[in-house]
């Protein structure tokens, strides 16, 4: 039942609003006449409705959630309670510096820690998700070339394994996109890269480890090729969890990076967000950082704005990005500490390699069996799809019945029938073993009673949906009287 179906005209959550409408003199031409359509429910009805709705979700707090490329790890509860202290929640973004030193200090220290873990010269926290960080990064690349009068560079190179945000971002920044193929080992095809670079090359966007779940071994060679062509190197930090404290983007030759703090630094992104796509830059891109940035003058902290960074690629939001997310990331990083950083990469990698090995031993095909897994890896169910007519999607849906959130399916696009599996460091061996057992059981079902798998899930609030009809005749809102 929708909240609107619980509503009755005239009902209210009385404690939540002024009892009567204040006297106001709003001229008729500005005034609302039509109803707002908000539901009329009691406070308890709202609480009960949304409590029950929530129970229909899988989440990290209830289920193993090995969604590849999304780093669904434990979100420490302390980050939540501290970020929600009244003093944190009530600070206005335009509060004067006299009432901002606590917050600014935290943001400054976060910038410094992020510089340290990435090896970059400067950081701006303002982008509000990975994709916005990409935008900021590519726009900085453009600003850099422009500042040198190097205006002919019109192309951004993107490996075919790249996340969809990479090419979409390049387009938003006014570039053309040229795809670079992947070789059989999962590395960027160097010959193709060499053939692609030229004076038109503005830069290359790379995720490392890539979305194929392997570390790009030729990274130094790639950096050389791109740099020699006059291009800059962009690092998509979605997979930073894999290498935290092990190798730094700055040391790999990247000029500009974004980080997905909501992944690597564990801020919850409930139901789709919010995230944070903080960016880091090498020295030569410092002038172009998105504003605002926090600076320290002796003992006090202040914002750097247009006046301080006149060549900035610009502002990306009304204020300074997703502050509440940044506070959570800060707290998480402080709880990890210096020794905790590399451990994240180590145990994320250990879990992924262990899980991959166990699945391979159980008869599944790894997409890159000859490679080490990074923090994630790909299983391809091509064989099962062909022989048993049971697809990756079928496995994914059946996993739900076994109490596991499905891995990422059908991404990256170049591996057919793939599951991109990222267990993260916070899962136990038992949980991973349980997942293997479920995969094995499903494979058994696929052989003996394939329809059970094909028609899964069977235990969820809904069975499989007809998405095609839904898209053809979109029903995007409830209408009164339904």
């Amino acid at each position: 039942m929708l909240i609107f179906e619980h509503a009755t005209p005239g009902r209210r959550a009385t404690a939540q609003a002024p009892a009567t409408m204040a006297d106001i003199d709003l001229p008729k031409r500005f005034a609302r006449k039509s109803p707002t359509g908000l539901p009329e429910v009691s406070e308890m009805q709202a609480v009960r409705h949304y409590t029950r709705l929530s129970q229909k979700n899988f989440s990290i707090d209830t289920h193993f959630y090995p969604l590849g490329s999304c780093t669904m790890k434990y979100n420490p509860r302390a980050c939540n309670s501290l970020a929600m202290l009244p003093g944190m929640l009530n600070r206005h973004p335009h509060a004067p510096l006299s009432h901002s030193q606590g917050f600014l200090q935290m943001m400054y220290e976060l910038q410094e820690m992020l510089k340290e873990v990435t090896g970059m010269a400067g950081v701006s926290l303002t982008p509000m998700a990975g994709a916005q960080g990409e935008f900021a990064g590519i726009a900085m690349i453009r600003a850099y070339h422009d500042s040198r009068g190097d205006a002919e560079r019109s192309e951004i190179l993107v490996p075919d394994a790249a996340h969809g945000t990479n090419p979409a971002t390049a387009i938003m920044c006014g570039y053309k996109v040229r795809e670079i193929p992947t070789d059989e080992q999962g590395d960027v095809d160097l010959d193709a890269l060499k053939a692609a670079v030229g004076p038109q090359t503005a830069g290359l966007m790379l995720t490392n480890p890539s979305t194929l779940g392997v570390f790009e071994r030729n990274i130094m060679e790639i950096a050389r090729i791109v740099h020699e062509a006059g291009g800059l190197l962009y690092y998509d930090g979605a997979n930073l969890n894999a290498i935290l404290g092990k190798v730094r983007p700055g040391d790999m030759g990247f000029d500009v990076i974004h980080m997905n703090l909501h992944k690597t630094f564990s801020t919850p992104h409930g139901g789709g967000g919010p995230g944070s796509g903080a960016v880091g830059v090498a020295e030569r891109l410092m002038p172009y950082r998105p504003i605002p940035v926090v600076a320290r003058d002796g003992d006090t902290y202040r914002w750097l704005t247009e006046d301080d960074l006149p060549d900035s690629m610009g502002r990306l939001s009304a204020f300074a990005g997703n502050a509440g997310v940044l506070i959570r990331a800060y707290i998480y990083m402080r709880m990890l500490g210096k020794a905790g950083m590399p451990r994240i990469a180590e145990f994320a990698t250990l879990n992924a390699n262990y899980l991959e090995k166990r699945l391979v031993e159980a008869g599944f095909d790894a997409a890159f069996p000859q490679r080490r897994a990074s923090h994630e890896f790909i299983i391809t169910l091509q064989k099962e799809a062909k022989e048993l007519k049971v697809t990756a999607m079928d496995f994914a849906k059946r996993l739900l019945d076994f109490g596991f959130h499905a891995p990422t399916t059908y991404f990256p696009l170049l591996v057919p029938e793939c599951l991109l599996i990222e267990p993260t460091e916070s899962e136990t061996k038992e949980e991973i073993d349980g997942f293997v057992a479920a995969m094995v059981a499903i494979l058994e079902e696929a052989r003996n009673e394939p329809d059970t798998v094909r028609s899964a899930p069977h235990t969820m609030p809904n069975r499989r949906f007809d998405e095609v009809s839904a898209a053809r005749k979109p029903d995007l809102r409830w209408r009164p009287g339904e």
Binding site: P18, P39, R91, S98, E116, M128, G174, G272, A318, R477
Partner: protein, 450 residues
């Protein structure tokens, strides 16, 4: 090992299964010469107890002031239930509902959100959120350009009465695509878009006109007249609204003859705490005809294999994960959790709660203006305002605000930051959270600081 559950025995077992001697071996594909050394810039791990105390101290340092600043972020009462429910693990630690069957909670909630937002704005369709109001304006402009294929100019009229940071963010976002943002000046008398300035563009190919309601100065724009102008000139209308104000104000879907084409704004006033500027969320609504140019996630109702209704992400062919370089936007992660809070917030307010809170905010700001008049301070503009107003102090605002802050009253936003010609003015907002005593304190503190 914080947040890592492995015991030494388990590590042994797992390595044995993998066939590796130690964990370090798993990193042997990384060239040795670039491996990083210990991160000495990171402090040692703090326990939860330790960091809690530090963060509490930082929070305390900034706390305690009575706030009258608005300027795009507004202090409102948020029912206690809102964030207690929103931070339930099932909402808080889920992600984008890719697996619809295991995400009906989030999906249904977004569908309810879309319904509420279309109701509030009077538009046909809402997406599931963008990042914030400013970036939503950028996306709205890009969307308008895609939708209005007949218009070749790619010129967007962006009034000076729009939030300055919205204008800057939009510029940042659209400038690489050959789009020109043309500033429309305000009438210095009324504080709203100068109608004669707009008249100059009549007959020109203008792709879209952005109309803020209320505008940055709190003044109500003549949205009907502006929309009528746009309709006559084959120009799309982008409404930039404060959704809280829509409890009282005519929704953009009803402006002019046919309403706005695209509506954006910041959802913050509906359930997001001030929180230093974020996370808030960007609203984006449009007419039915434009839905396939909409960026961002959209949830639709669907039927499952048993014929039972439920909810799915739909129209995904607009999005980057399907369409890549041809997507309507690069947006992926959005502001889902804030939308969760906002949906619960709107359900708890209901139509009457929203209307009454909006009316009380409006009345409080009027009260403040009246009391300011008694000490000789008048509004800078003559245009009708909603719950925010520019006051002219007759002396540099910066100093006055500083002296007020020293008394723990954050007296407003210094308009000199936007325009040096307004360096004697502040933007002040008294929402429903302010009592008569608060307003008196504002006045007393202001008077002392003048």
């Amino acid at each position: 090992m914080p947040f890592i559950p492995h015991t030494p025995e388990e590590i042994e077992q797992m390595l044995a299964t993998i066939g590796a001697d130690d964990i370090e071996t798993l990193f042997d594909e990384i060239p040795a010469n670039i491996r990083c050394q210990s991160l000495d810039g990171i402090p040692p791990a703090a326990s939860e107890m330790e960091i809690a105390r530090e963060v509490q101290a930082m929070a305390d340092r900034d706390a305690g002031a009575l706030n009258f600043i608005g300027a795009g972020a507004y202090e409102h009462h948020i029912p206690a239930a809102v964030w207690q429910l929103t931070t339930r693990g099932e909402f808080y630690t889920a992600y984008t509902p890719y697996q619809a069957e295991a995400s009906q909670g989030t999906l249904q909630l977004i569908y309810e959100y879309q319904t509420m937002m279309t109701g509030l704005t009077g538009m046909d369709v809402s997406n599931a959120s963008l990042y914030d109001g400013a970036s939503a304006l950028g996306e709205a402009i890009l969307m308008a350009v895609r939708v209005h294929r007949k218009s070749k100019s790619r010129k967007i009229l962006v009034p000076a009465s729009l939030h300055p940071n919205y204008r800057k963010a939009a510029e940042t976002i659209v400038k690489h695509q050959g789009i020109e943002l043309v500033e429309l000046p305000i009438d210095p008398q009324t504080g709203r878009i100068d109608p004669t300035a707009l008249e100059q563009y009549s007959g020109e190919d203008i792709t879209a006109l952005a109309i803020p309601q209320p505008n940055f100065y709190g003044v109500l724009e003549e949205a009907d007249e502006l929309t009528a102008w746009a309709e006559q000139n084959n120009t799309l209308v982008i409404g930039v609204v404060n959704p809280f104000a829509l409890g009282l104000l005519k929704p953009p879907g009803e402006w002019g003859e046919n309403g706005a084409d695209v509506v954006c704004g910041d959802g913050q006033p509906l359930g997001a705490p001030l929180s230093s500027g974020g996370p808030y969320y960007g609203i984006l609504c449009c007419k039915q005809a434009h839905v396939r140019q909409m960026p961002g996630r959209i949830v639709g109702r669907a039927v499952d294999a048993d014929g039972k209704k439920g909810f799915v992400l739909t129209l995904q062919a607009r999005e980057q994960h399907i369409r890549r370089s041809k997507a309507t936007s690069n947006i992926c992660t959005n502001q889902g959790l804030v939308v969760t809070a906002s949906t619960i917030h709107m359900a708890l307010l209901g139509p009457v709660g929203l209307r009454n809170a909006a009316a009380l905010s409006m009345a409080n700001t009027r009260k403040l203006v009246e009391k300011a008049a008694a000490i000789g301070i008048a509004p800078r503009f003559s245009g009708e305002y909603f719950h925010e107003v520019a006051l002219q102090l007759g002396q540099p605002a910066a100093g006055v605000l500083e002296r007020m802050a020293a008394n723990n009253v954050l007296g407003g936003y210094d308009l000199g930051q936007v325009n040096p010609s307004m360096a004697d003015s502040i933007l002040v907002c008294a929402t429903e959270t302010k009592t008569d005593a608060d307003i008196d304190r504002f006045i007393d503190t202001l008077q002392a600081a003048l």
